[in-house]
Symmetry: C2
Subunit: 419 residues, 2 copies
C-alpha cells in the first residue's frame, strides 16, 4: 500500500508558499469554495502565497457536494490556466474537485467518462503525468488529502460515483488543525461521521486475502484491497480518536485539542480506507445524496439542497453493521467496545445488535436527524435507492457479507427511523 | 511524512517477476549475501524471475554488517551492469548495500563521501534520479524496506555511519513472512531487538515540535523529524507486537504466526523510526559494532568478527531508558507496561528504573549476552566508545535528554554488565 505525504501542526499552512517555490511552481491554481474564500483557512494560504511571491489564480466556484457539471467547470478553468501546480483549500468537495481538474487538464484529450469508475464510466487507468497538488483540508472528515479518490454526483443518473486512481492522490497534505476552528457545529458533526464510517467500514471490510477475483498482476489491483493488517492499524487508531474526541469537538468550538485530534483522525481513517476500502454505508450513501429532494442542512452556507456526505453515510450505519456482523462478530464487538459499549457480558452472536445500538445512542446524543425519513425519504423511494446502490459495486463488493437487492431494500427500510 | 509502498502476504514474492515486467525492467541487479544465496528466499525470487523471463545479474557478495569497502565493491558492480532496476533479497545488510549501489550508480561522478552523513561525510542532498529498487526483507529487524537509510561501517574511522535520504527509500517492499522461517534463533533474536529499539527510541525521541533549529524551509528538514502523532501510532503498534510475539518467534521456528507478526512489526517500526528517528541506543551502537574485536555471534554464517546490529543496540537499552525517562516518564512507563511490567502501583518518578528492569528481564529470558563485557569490551574501551558516539549527532540529538561526554561514559559503563 502507498501512503501520501502529510505535514501536521498548528500553523504549518504558512509554509505552503515555500513548498510551491521548492516545486518550482510558476502558475498555481488555488481552488476553494465560495464560503471558505472568506474564511481564515484561505486567508492563511493567501498570506503565504503573497509572502513567497507565488503567482496564482483563484477558483472559488467549487460546488459543495460536487456534480459532473461542477467538475467540468473546474476542469475548464484548469485547462485554460495551464497551471504547473494546484492547491486545494477546503473539505472533500474542494479537494476532490481539484483532483479532477488536475487529472483532466493533464490529459486534455480525455473524455470525461474515461476515468470515471466502471460500470458508470470506463475506469481507464491513468497514464498521463499529473501536476503536483497540495491539499489543505479544512474539515475533519473525508481524509481526501490522503486518498486517490474524487467523488461527484452524476446528475443525469442521479447517483454519486467517482474517480479512483493512485495518480490523483495529493502530493502533500497540509493538516493544520487551526483550520478546523471555523467549522460550525453540524459541519464538525457530519464530517466527523464520515471519519467514523471510514474507520468502521475499512475495519470490517472483506479481508484482503478473501477477495475474488484477485487480479494476478499487481498493476491491475484496485486501490481498495480489502481490510489488511496495515489498514487495521489506521482504522482502529482513528476509531479510538473518534470515540474520545468527536463529541467534544462538536459541542465546543473552543476545544482545540478535540478538533486537532479529529483533524488527524480524518487523515488516519483516510489512509486506512484509501487502502482497504469502504463498503455498504458508503455504497448506499451515494443514492441517498444523489436523490436528495429538498433537504437543507443546518450550518451549510449553500443555496442548493444537499444531504451532507457524512450524514448520508452514517444514517444507515446501525442497520448495516447489524447486517454485516455475522461475518466478523469479534471485530464488530471490538468496535462497539471502543465506542463505549460495555461488552463484559456480551454474547458474540449479539455483536451486530450491540454495535448498532451503540451507534444509535451515539447519534441520538449528537442530535442527528431521525433516519432517512427525517431527511425526506419514504418507503416509496426504496426501489430508487436500491437501484442507485447497485452500480456502486466497487465498494459494495467489499462488504464482508454479500447482499441481494432484497437485503439492500431491508437495510434502507431499517434506516428510515433510528430511535 | 512519507511512507513506502509495501505488499504483505505469504507467498507474495512469486509476483516479483511481474512487478519487474510492469516496471519495464530489462537489466535487473539481484543483490543478496552468500549465506542467503543458498536459502529459500533467494530461490523464491529466482523462480519468479525465471517464470517471467526477467534478465538479471546476481551479486551475492554483500558483507553482513557492510563496510565502506563492501559498499564500494557493490557500487562497482552496479556501475558496470548499467541496470535499470534493483532487487535486494536479505536483511538490512543486503538492502542497505543495494540502496547505496543504486545511488552511486545513478550519479556515477559522485565521490563516496558526498552523500555520507555529515559531519563524517558531506551529507549532500540527492538530486539524481534513481532506478526502482524492490526490497525483499528476510529478517524481521531493520525495516530497511521502508526507510531512506543505508548504514555501513567506516573502517578507517572504526565507526558506523550511513547515508540518509528519502531518495534511496525502496520503491516497493515485498514482505513475505515465509522468508522468516529459515532464520536461526539468534538472528531472529538480534533482528527482533532492533525492532524493539526502533519502537522504543522513536516513541521516546524528542518531540517534533521541540527540535531546534527547525529548518524553516521544509525541503531542508531531515528525514528524522522527532516523535510525532503519526510515528507514535507505528511505534506503539510495533511495540505491542514485539511484546506479544518476539519470544515465541525466537523459541519456536515453527511458530508461523509469531514470525509473520514480527515480520510486519519490523516494517511498522521502520515506518515509525524512518520518520521520527532513533536516538541513544542507536547512536551508541555504531561504535559498539565498529570497534568489534573478536566477537563471533552464534548462528551467523560469516567468517569475520561482528556484533550484530540488534545486539549492539539492545545492550545499552536498560541504561539509556533509565537515563532518558525523566523527560517523558509517562511514555517510558507506558512502554514498560506494554512489555509486561505491572505498573499499577508504580510511581512516575521510577519510570526509568521500571522500564530498565523490564528490559533486563526480557533480555535475560532470551539468553542475551551479559552486557558489553560479555562481547569483549572493558572499561578501558569506554573513551573510544564515547569518541565513536560523538559524530552520531544526527541521531543522538534526537535523545529527549541532552547528554554530555560524561553522560555517555556513564551509559557505556552501566551497560558493561546487565544482570
Ligand atoms: N475523496 C475522498 O476520499 C472522499 C471521502 C469521503 C467523502 N468525499 C466527498 O467529499 C465531499 C464532502 O466533503 P466534506 O465533508 O469535507 O465537506 P465539504 O467540502 O462538502 O464542505 C461542507 C461545507 O463546509 C464548509 N466548510 C468546510 N470547511 C470549513 C471550515 N473550516 N470552516 C467553515 N466552513 C467550512 C464548506 O464551505 C461547505 O459549505 C462529498 O462530496 C463526499 O462524497 C470524498
Ligand atoms: N537501513 C535501515 O533503516 C537500518 C536500520 C537498522 C539497521 N540497519 C543495518 O542493517 C544491518 C543488519 O541487518 P539485519 O539485522 O537485517 O541482518 P543482516 O542483513 O546483517 O543479516 C544477518 C545474518 O542473517 C542471515 N539471514 C538473513 N535472513 C535470513 C533468513 N531468512 N534465513 C537465514 N539466514 C538469514 C544473513 O545471511 C546474515 O548472515 C546492519 O548493518 C544495520 O546497521 C539498517
Ligand atoms: Fe466518506
Ligand atoms: Fe536499527
Amino acid at each position: 500500500m502507498a501512503i501520501s505525504n502529510i505535514r501536521y501542526g498548528e500553523g504549518v499552512t504558512k509554509e505552503i508558499g515555500m513548498d510551491l517555490q521548492n516545486l518550482g511552481a510558476r502558475r498555481v491554481c488555488l481552488m476553494t469554495d465560495k464560503n471558505l474564500s472568506q474564511l481564515p483557512p484561505v486567508t492563511a494560504v493567501l498570506n503565504s502565497l503573497a509572502k513567497y511571491g507565488i503567482n496564482f489564480q483563484m477558483y472559488d466556484n467549487v460546488r459543495v457536494e460536487p456534480t459532473d457539471q461542477s467538475f467540468l467547470d473546474a476542469i475548464k478553468f484548469a485547462k485554460k490556466g495551464e497551471f504547473d501546480a494546484y492547491v486545494a483549500v477546503g473539505g472533500g468537495s474542494v479537494i476532490d474537485t481539484c483532483k479532477a481538474a488536475n487529472l483532466y487538464a493533464s490529459g486534455p484529450m480525455s473524455d470525461f467518462l474515461d476515468y470515471v469508475n466502471a460500470p458508470i464510466g470506463k475506469g481507464k487507468p491513468v497514464s498521463v503525468p499529473l501536476k503536483p497538488l497540495i491539499a489543505v483540508p479544512t474539515t475533519a472528515g473525508t481524509g481526501s488529502e490522503t486518498t486517490g479518490v474524487a467523488i461527484f454526483d452524476f446528475k443525469e443518473l442521479k447517483v454519486k460515483t467517482g474517480i479512483a486512481s493512485r495518480a490523483i492522490k495529493p502530493t502533500l497534505g497540509i493538516i493544520d488543525p487551526l483550520h478546523t476552528l471555523s467549522m460550525p457545529e453540524r459541519i464538525v458533526a457530519n464530517s466527523g461521521f464520515d471519519v467514523l464510517c471510514h474507520a468502521l467500514e475499512s475495519y470490517t471490510a472483506l479481508p484482503y486475502n478473501m477477495r475474488s477475483p484477485c487480479p494476478s498482476n499487481p498493476i491491475n489491483r484496485p486501490a481498495y484491497q480489502g481490510s489488511n493488517p496495515i489498514s487495521d492499524v489506521w482504522a482502529l487508531h482513528a476509531l479510538r480518536i473518534v470515540a474520545k474526541y468527536l463529541k467534544r469537538a462538536i459541542r465546543n468550538p473552543e476545544d482545540r485539542e478535540a478538533r486537532a485530534k479529529m483533524h488527524l483522525a480524518s487523515a488516519f481513517a483516510g489512509i486506512g480506507f484509501g487502502n482497504a476500502g469502504v463498503h455498504l454505508c458508503h455504497g448506499m450513501s451515494y443514492p441517498i445524496s444523489g436523490l436528495v429532494k429538498i433537504y437543507k442542512p443546518k450550518d451549510y452556507n449553500v443555496d442548493h439542497s444537499l444531504v451532507p456526505h457524512g450524514l448520508s453515510v452514517v444514517l444507515t450505519s446501525p442497520a448495516v453493521f447489524a447486517f454485516t456482523a455475522q461475518m466478523h462478530p469479534e471485530r464488530h464487538l471490538e468496535a462497539a467496545e471502543i465506542l463505549g459499549a460495555d461488552i463484559r457480558t456480551a454474547r458474540i452472536k449479539d455483536a451486530g445488535f450491540i454495535l448498532a445500538d451503540t451507534l444509535r445512542k451515539f447519534l441520538f446524543d449528537l442530535n442527528v436527524d431521525d433516519g432517512l425519513a427525517a431527511i425526506g425519504y419514504s418507503k416509496a423511494d426504496i426501489p430508487a435507492l436500491v437501484k442507485g446502490t447497485l452500480p456502486q459495486e466497487r465498494v459494495t463488493k467489499l462488504s464482508p457479507r454479500p447482499q441481494t437487492e432484497e437485503d439492500l431494500s431491508a437495510l434502507f427500510e431499517a434506516s428510515m427511523k433510528l430511535y
